[in-house]
Amino acid sequence: MSGQHAAAPVGGKLFNATTLICGVLIAAMIAVLFVRFIFGLGAVTNLNDGYPWGIWVVFDVVIGSAFACGGFSVAMLVYIFNRGHYHPLVRPALLASLFGYTLAGVGVLFDLGRWWNFWHILWPGYANPHSVMFEVAVCISAYITVMWIEFSPVFMEQWGLRVQRRKLEKVLFFFIALGTLLPMMHQSSLGTLLVVMGPQVNPLWQTPVVPLLYLLSAIAIGYGIVLFESCLAASAYRREIETHLLQPMAKIMLGVLAVFMLVRFGDLIVRGALGHAMNPSREALFFWLETVCFAAPFLIVGKPAARRNPARLFLAGCAIMLAGILLRINGFLIGYDTGLGVDNGWNYFPSIAEMLVTIGMFALEVLGYIIITRRFPVLSRTEAAH
């Protein structure tokens, strides 16, 4: 936490092959969305009444926001557990979170069938505080605002707004505390969304401890994402990998994962639901895929020596991301069965158009990350000098 960790813009050209590809993907997304808003959801998606939520909800919002937990996980480490030496990781992680959440918030509008009423969810008289989705919406909206405030010193620094910056930093601790609380609330509630669906969700994923499972996995994913992004940014910008920071962080991630596994299997055993994992069914297969991905980081970076290997750190990050994807897809799509199997014939697999929108949103995130890291002080300067 000294001057040598001060952040600086990476610099360089904004127009290159990567940004060009992002631009093309974003254009494709806009074209699909044009059709969606003129002709309705049925015109571009494979959504149906058996699967009313597709990848726009499950990927763009539920998984997208979990992937955007890097900022929350690192900020918690630095400011709550006072691990100041992780400070260089805060800004890049916060930036990725900012994009992930802002776009998840925007992405929801594409999926809302009556989007022009979206403000009802925050409006007294309409809002239903008993609804899990209400809680998710309020916390995510508040968190997006808090994150922009947390990140605003970056812009103030670049534009020389010293007075405003000093004023903000006097109260920043409060926004950091709020920025730690809010993701805890809505990441757990994203899991609680499943509870009201009752027995329509397979017992492997329908449990009263689902909020804790989603929260713990979101924190672990947060560290996994930082491993992934740090390795990627280092290779793309030809910077040195911050192994001295990533190595202990991987250890913390394993600790969170261990707690997750304990809760996960403890709950399955207590509820007597483990039998569902032994059936020769698609659900059981996906459960084991998910479990293998959650266990993989222990094999990949379990030993201290392995944690010094950047390739292994990167792989561990990928494994935990995949595990997070599977936990959420399994609960919301694979393990979900409308009308408990009595309404046969419902199927869902995303259409090309749906995938184009999800990919386009991802491209928008990547493009935003590139533009901001090249023009604003996000990544730490020392490594740029190497």
Binding site: S2, N82, G113, V132, R165, F173, M185
Partner: protein, 351 residues
């Protein structure tokens, strides 16, 4: 830099936060809601149904829904399932030779698919904008498209697969049975019950309908009995209406006057179970059948509603915002000690 004390302090705040997620069901437990005493509903008796679909046509007409074609000639309204444009459907169970009505083996049976008007509806608990509401008097689960944001959480939440969305429209609404509440002010009741020729679908107070269902279960199969049609009159209600308010058309309950339409019929070989009496805390639409309820498309549900489980978790964590405020206070206290203004840090590094 980091001291052990700082770390412990962080742990304290962290575990307080974790505790918010695991607190057991305690003071905030929300019990499964019960039907209001004057709840309105339907009784569907599968053994009386002849599968004429008059109720399907009537439902389409009074709700101004378009026909849905599934045959090549596009001549008849032939929906294969309820949808955003079809709120009521008679489905058929068939097995083997289909020789006998209401037989599970080599037989067939009918089942009405429409909103069950749950005592504790998942859709109402799920809806973030109060577009799905349960009337505190009649218990009817109503939908308000002007409030709805189209998130389709209700569609996902309902264990009966009832609320459905109109995916074919850029301004699609949710479609579901509202027990014809828009016709009640004119003294009309649910169109499906109004037109049912055999009394298989009967409208009335759920309490009365439950008593009627239990009366049928108490009699022997094949026994002759009086079967009411249209609307089941409440025991205390005057048999002859029309005089009470002096206007001729309506009696004091507001329902249009009708001649007694009951008739004599032989009872079916019922399963000894009124579906909807206890499922998910009970529903206001009740069903009788001779064929296994799961086989005719009704899910096996516990007496505890998932809305109660969901709201218990939410109220435990967020009731009165107590827990979030306590955790926020802890986090703020810790963060205040740990956050070093970045501007101060840079004084050493920057000229």
């Amino acid at each position: 830099m980091t001291t052990r004390r700082d770390f412990l302090r962080g742990c304290l705040a962290g575990s307080a936060a974790a505790a918010t997620a695991v607190l057991p069901e305690t003071a905030c437990a929300r019990d499964t809601l019960q039907r209001p005493p004057e709840a309105l509903g339907l009784l569907y008796d599968a053994t009386l149904c002849v599968g004429c679909q008059a109720c399907v046509a009537a439902c389409k007409r009074v709700n101004e829904n378009p026909a849905e074609f599934t045959t090549v000639d596009h001549l008849w309204d032939t929906p294969l399932d309820t949808s955003g444009h079809t709120f009521n459907l008679i489905k058929m169970y068939r097995h083997g030779t289909m020789a006998t009505k209401d037989a599970e083996e080599n037989g067939f049976s009918f089942m009405k698919t429409s909103c069950m008007h749950c005592a504790d509806p998942s859709c109402v608990s799920a809806c973030p904008v109060s577009a799905m509401t349960k009337n505190p008097l009649t218990g009817i689960v109503g939908y308000d498209p002007d409030a709805c944001i189209g998130c389709r959480y209700c569609v996902a939440a309902c264990p009966f697969g009832i609320p459905k969305y109109q995916y074919d429209s850029p301004t699609g609404k949710i479609g579901k049975c509202e027990l014809c509440r828009h016709r009640h002010q004119d003294g009309h009741y649910s169109a499906c019950a109004e037109v049912c020729p055999t009394g298989a679908t009967l409208f009335g107070r759920t309490d009365d309908l439950l008593a009627e269902a239990k009366r049928r279960l108490s009699l022997k199969p094949g026994e002759w009995t009086t079967i009411p049609r249209g609307r089941l009159r409440h025991a205390g209600e005057k048999a002859l209406a029309g005089g009470e308010d002096g206007k001729g058309e309506k009696h004091r309950h507001g329902w249009r006057d009708e001649p007694d339409q009951s008739y004599q019929a032989q009872l079916g070989n019922y399963l000894q179970h009124v579906y909807g009496e206890t499922e998910y805390g009970g529903t206001q639409v009740l069903k009788l059948s001779a064929v296994n309820f799961q086989k005719v498309g009704l899910p096996d549900l516990p007496p505890k509603s998932s809305a109660a489980t969901s709201e218990t978790i939410q109220h435990t964590l967020y009731g009165g915002l107590v827990m979030p405020i306590v955790v926020l206070a802890g986090l703020t206290w810790v963060a205040r000690r740990n956050v070093v203004p970045e501007a101060d840090e840079e004084k050493g590094g920057q000229p």
